[in-house]
């Protein structure tokens, strides 16, 4: 058997609503499906109602402001969500698509509208809409939290900057503002703290002892931070006060003091080189006498082109033992000779993950600056330090003393 279907029956009983209106919206044709949804009779509708009359008031406003002008301008709209008013007062969610029919002269004559039942879709959309609102609320809360975190972060940054200011002022108090001018002597120094927010443990100084002699020292306190800074301060002032004694006695005094003060509680040690300089204005020579307490050996760079570490006899870490011997070493700087003091931040700086800079590299570089001004040597070394791929882990202090050529 061949099954056929009539166009008219399809129109009337299709699973979608159909209506046709004149351009002012007056309904001239409507199918049974749509009448059923509305609960209206054909007679009540045809020629008596406009499309807008089927809509809720919000839908009517939307129709007037958006839908109708869009239809006029582009001849078709589709998928517009609206609600129909049922005769019993209920609402019936629909999706509406319309096309305009034009006559042969291009004048619009009819609007044909198809109406789809959107009850299930509407429920689904409302779910999505709720989900979207929840997501938006969550996003707003996240924005708020981020905003608060930013404020906290800015406060922390401000605190940090303040702390850093305070620390750098303190740090300055532990180092000479500038080295004094010593007749017959040319000096240069360099200081680097590994951490901007921690006080360094390295220290040095150069100062007049009497009419003929100058004292100098350079040392390294074990550890960092406020406790180390306290030792640094103590070491600095003790060595300055003891400068009238010979170098060995001065270090012995510091050793005894550190040992006494820190043996009971938190043990603190330091290494240091302490010495005196006696420039001879007649010969241009500078007589140096120094002692070392566990400190890396100074490097003596002769103007003639040699560089050698000056190893002292004995000399233990300061503060470890109640008493210690710090025998003095004497040497004579000829004009143009340089004595370089440094902390292990230099020789133990990492060139890369596997390698330290080391004494040999230091000696090789110093050789190239034999006879050069002290400032050039110090500058070359500071450039070497900043050129390493690995950030400097330790503080570094350099003090170069050169007999004026």
């Amino acid at each position: 058997m061949i099954v056929t279907d009539s166009t008219e029956e399809v129109y009337e009983t299709a699973p979608s609503g159909h209506l046709s209106t004149t351009m002012d919206g007056t309904i001239v044709k409507i199918n049974a499906t749509l009448l059923g949804w509305l609960g209206l009779t054909r007679d009540a509708v045809i020629g008596r109602m406009r499309f807008a009359d089927l809509l809720t008031i919000g839908g009517r406003l939307y129709n007037e402001t958006h839908l109708a002008p869009s239809l006029r301008m582009q001849g078709a709209v589709s998928g517009i969500a609206l609600e129909l008013k049922r005769d019993d007062g209920g609402r019936f969610p629909v999706l509406v698509s319309s096309v305009v029919k034009y006559d042969e002269t291009g004048e619009p004559v009819l609007i044909r509208t198809t109406v789809f039942d959107a009850q299930i879709r509407r429920a689904y959309e409302e779910e999505l809409l709720r989900g979207r609102q929840v997501a938006e609320e969550a996003r707003q809360q996240a924005d708020l939290a981020r905003h608060e975190a930013e404020i906290a972060h800015r406060q922390a940054e401000a605190d940090r900057a303040q702390l850093q200011d305070a620390l750098s002022v303190l740090q300055q108090a532990l180092l000479p503002e500038r080295l004094p001018d010593v007749p017959g002597l040319e000096t240069a120094s360099y200081y680097h703290t590994a951490s901007a927010i921690q006080l360094g443990g390295d220290f040095y100084d150069l100062f007049a002892v009497d009419q003929e002699r100058w004292g100098f020292f350079l040392g390294d306190v074990c550890g960092k931070g406020p406790a180390a800074a306290a030792v640094t301060s103590l070491a600095r002032y003790t060595l300055r006060a003891a400068a009238l004694h010979d170098p060995g006695s001065a270090l012995a005094a510091l050793n005894a003091l550190l040992n006494e003060r820190f043996a009971t509680g938190d043990p603190r040690y330091c290494t240091a080189v302490f010495g005196t300089l006696r420039p001879d204005p007649d010969t241009g020579q500078v007589a140096v006498e120094f002692a070392s307490g566990g400190h890396p050996p100074p490097l003596l760079i002769r103007a003639g082109g040699t560089a050698d570490f000056v190893h002292t006899t004995d000399g233990t870490l300061l503060g470890i033992l109640p008493s210690g011997e710090f025998p003095p070493t004497q040497l004579l700087l000829e004009p143009g000779d340089t004595l370089l003091l440094y902390t292990d931040g230099l020789t133990e700086a990492r060139v890369d993950e596997d390698e330290f800079y080391g004494e040999q590299a230091l000696r090789t570089l110093a050789l190239r600056y034999a006879g050069a001004p002290a400032s050039e040597l110090v500058e070359a070394l500071s450039e070497v330090l900043t050129s390493f791929g690995v950030p400097l882990a330790d503080d570094t202090a350099l003090l170069a003393l050169r007999a004026t050529p």
């Binding site: 002012d24 008031i57 919000g58 007037e64 402001t65 517009i80 979207r132």
Partner: protein, 267 residues
Amino acid sequence: MNILRRNNVTTTGTPDGRTVLLAHGFGCDQNMWRLTVPALAADHRVALFDYVGAGRSDLTAFDPQRYSTLEGYADDVVEVCTALDLHDAVFVGHSVSAMIGVLAARKAPERIGALVMVAPSPCYLNDGDYRGGFDRADIEELLASLESNYLGWSSAMAPVIMGNPERPELGEELTTSFCATDPAMARVFARTTFLSDSRDDLASVKVPTLILEATEDVIAPRAVGAYTHAAIEGSKLVTLDATGHCPHLSAPAATNRAITEFLADLG
């Protein structure tokens, strides 16, 4: 900020003619003047624009605070007038734009010399003896219906909103998205529009004014047209044989005739 870009200002017509600035209403964009422009272009310079949030305006310039009052939109109109260096222009505003024009003319009297109000309403809400046509609940329902179109609308509008000139297929999108409006921005505009009450501003109009109304308009019923006419001294009211809120689309010939006659009378 480039105002001409922000409001997607376009000009056409006769360059040395008097400028007519056409302002669209809620729910649409400058495209709605398509049938009006040809009638004006012969003797006038015609300028069109989109409010921020509508059409091809710069959506990044949207400010919910600024656009929560009609004053904010009027400020935009004054900025557009200034950017075009208009003097004594004729402002043609549809629907809510008619009231925006009233505010703009008061802010910049040297720039706006005449008003054409197409289907205006100074207040959509009923208030005592005043019959604006809508109760508060009706307006809330409109706002809710905008909300329910949110999903469909936003997904359909997304490519246009992105406005990617490197993708020519978006040209197609633009033609099919007549009266494109960002849904979130449309909600702000809807609230501002339908909850506004500008009745007290009508008396400030001192320029020649033409009011156009349709015989049947749910949004601006004839009682509202009569109220507006009575409140603006010396105004001219023309009732067009048209139905609906957009007579310039449903009865373009009659609308154009009324506007061009008014312009001719201005001299």
